[in-house]
């Protein structure tokens, strides 16, 4: 009938979009096993790149750095961005326009300028360049993204629920944790995922603000281009995908187990 047709169309649509999303991923994975180093010819199956990857300390350290920086900056920016979104949504205060302006500018500013400006800033303050400065910079550019997503989730929020809860004796803190927080949780998670992607993939700001002992993965990859992108990186990405999928499946499994018990 009409709804069955509609459901089929929607399934096809979702399927096609997922194909679009995963087509390059498929290529990345397949080519991690390709014997050829450059070019697109398939020259035979090999696990050499994986072996090379495990011996390549530079790439592994860069990867570890990127992951650490991404996780830490995502956590901090999610906290600050969420709290700020709630605050700027509910309250007015003297410098509100300034703060919102700064948030907007941070999103709009070209990365090259932000990188150079931050570097000079850290240099003037004698901050040693390293993982610390990278985390601080990434947090700075991620906060506005979390802010926007959470704020859009808050839009239309009915504050009478809050008032009712307080009338019934809940403290403001409890109101925040048991009413507001659960409501905006999908917003926080979306913002956090965006922040993670931004941080993990960043090249330009990383370049300026990192020190000699804190290379990140995107910089390493980007500068490998001059001499040819090694399929080692494909191997690395494939492994990352495997691990993430593995975690996802585990989580899903635990969830379904949990509901089954109940």
């Amino acid at each position: 009938m009409k709804t069955k047709f509609f459901r089929q169309i929607s399934n096809i649509y979702i399927g096609m979009i997922f194909i679009y999303l995963y087509l390059p991923i498929f290529i990345v994975v397949v080519y991690s096993f390709n014997k050829s180093m450059a070019g697109t010819e398939w020259m035979g199956f090999t696990m050499d790149w994986y072996r090379k990857l495990f011996k390549d300390l530079n790439v592994i350290i860069a990867f570890k750095n990127s992951l650490t920086i991404a996780i830490v900056s995502t956590v901090i920016s999610s906290i600050i961005g969420t709290i700020g979104a709630v605050g700027l949504y509910k309250y007015n205060f003297k410098g509100k326009n300034l703060v919102e302006g700064l948030l907007d500018i941070t999103i709009v500013i070209p990365e090259v300028i932000m990188g150079i400006a931050l570097l000079m800033y850290f240099s003037q303050m004698r901050f040693p360049l390293g993982i610390g400065t990278l985390v601080l910079s990434h947090t700075t550019f991620s906060i506005p993204f979390v802010f926007i997503v959470v704020k859009s989730r808050l839009a239309g929020f009915d504050s009478s629920i809050e008032d009712a809860a307080m009338d019934l004796g809940a403290s403001r803190f409890k109101v925040f944790t048991s009413i507001i927080l659960p409501l905006i949780l999908p917003g926080i998670l979306s913002g956090a995922m965006i922040a993670f992607v931004l941080s993990f993939d960043d090249v330009i700001i990383n370049f300026f603000v990192s020190g000699p002992e804190s290379t990140t993965l995107p910089i390493k990859i980007f500068s490998m281009l001059r001499f040819g992108l090694s399929p080692e990186i494909n191997a690395l990405c494939t492994l990352m995908l495997l691990i993430t999928f593995g975690i996802l499946i585990m989580v899903q499994f635990i969830k379904t187990m949990g509901t089954k018990k109940v």
């Binding site: 570097l119 040693p128 993982i131 610390g132 990192s210 020190g211 000699p212």
Partner: protein
């Protein structure tokens, strides 16, 4: 009572952030200040110094190499300027940027003590005492790069001998060039018989008109992997660095290499030591190591650039000597022109490049 949860929360968050910031900074502040530390911070293109060479240095001297990367000379300069010449011990960069750095008010490089670098005598004299650093006060040559024409002889049915052939209308939408204003403009200027470092505005305008005529032929501009579009069949003729041309020919032996008859460009990459390098002695040891003949040959065989070390010649393989992309005869090198900074004409070059891209 009701205030407490908030207070605790704020205190908690701020102290976590504070502790974190402190610990992150303290992790970093130790390594970079100690000169007797067994570390050397290298800053250059990725894979430019091969892994095998790095490992050998580490084994021989026990000094760990922190290999940081940049993709262009100007990026390197921006970073060096903004950090005021500290952080890195050895930088490998190109000649024209060394010329720029040498002219600055606050020089970011420090003079290299040749007494500490005995292998300096191995460098081929034809690459020394160049205009960008007379007397080699600040720099010592590593390799030489040059650009050349590569084309698919199966798809192109007329002989290509020089830059002017790239303007042939038969090559519509089939060229790949390096995405660099100096290289592309330089090739146009050379075609017109002018210098690659031309500053005369009339001549530059002429070059601009000529360059705009080339645009319809250009399919791809690629700074890093121009050989890929040749190999994939998206383009049939390319103008690119020797190492890239070599990669193309290795992938398809039907590709032919041409040294443009109007004259080539040669770009020397050199070692320099930034003025506030944290580990100066280790930097000197590293440079001396790299100027050893055997090591030099190992490096250029891997990165496929032109070798500048006369002590390396006896180690060179037949394959290297026969590779036209990599072993360029002295006759060509002698008439090759070097890029130099064009001073205030840089704005004009930038404008021409922007217009070229907009066409």
């Amino acid at each position: 009572m009701k205030k407490n949860p908030f207070k605790i929360l704020i205190l908690g968050i701020t102290s976590v952030c504070f502790i974190f910031a402190l610990s992150a900074c303290s992790i970093q502040s130790k390594p970079t200040s100690d000169n007797s530390e067994k570390v050397v911070n290298l800053f250059t293109w990725a894979n430019y110094v091969p892994d095998s060479v790095v490992n050998e240095f580490e084994k021989q001297t026990g000094i760990k190499v922190n290999y940081s990367n940049f993709s262009t000379n100007e990026e390197m300069l921006a970073k060096l300027q903004a950090s005021r010449g500290s952080e890195y011990d050895v930088v490998i960069c190109s000649d024209y940027i060394i010329e720029v750095m040498g002219k600055q008010k606050n020089i970011l490089m420090q003079p290299i003590d040749k007494a500490k670098i005995p292998n300096y005598k191995n460098v081929d004299p034809q690459f020394l005492n160049q205009v960008y650093d007379k007397g080699n006060k600040y720099s010592m040559p590593y390799t030489l790069g040059s650009q050349m024409i590569v084309y698919n002889s199966e798809k192109v049915n007329f002989p290509i001998r020089g830059y002017k052939d790239l303007w042939n209308p038969a090559l519509k939408n089939s060229l790949v060039l390096v995405d660099d204003p100096r290289i592309v403009l330089g090739m146009t200027l050379k075609k017109l018989g002018y210098s690659m470092n031309e500053t005369d505005s009339k001549k530059l305008d002429q070059a601009k008109q000529d360059l705009l005529k080339l645009k319809p032929n250009v399919k791809v501009l690629d700074a890093d992997t121009p050989h890929n579009s040749l190999i994939n069949g998206d383009t049939t003729v390319g103008f690119m660095y020797g190492s890239q041309a070599s990669a193309a020919v290795k992938a398809n032996p039907k590709f032919k290499i041409v040294y443009p008859e109007e004259g080539m460009n040669a770009e020397e990459d050199n070692f320099i030591i930034p003025i506030k390098a944290p580990h100066k002695e280790n930097a000197e040891k590293f440079i001396n190591f790299m100027l050893d003949g055997k090591i030099s040959n190992e490096a250029t065989t891997a990165n496929e650039y032109v070798n500048t070390n006369k002590a390396a010649k006896k180690y060179m393989s037949k394959e290297y000597l026969n590779n036209r992309a990599v072993f360029i005869p002295d006759s060509e090198l002698k008439r090759a022109e070097r890029f130099r900074d064009v001073g205030s004409a840089t704005k004009t070059y930038d404008l021409i490049w922007s217009e070229f891209k907009q066409r």
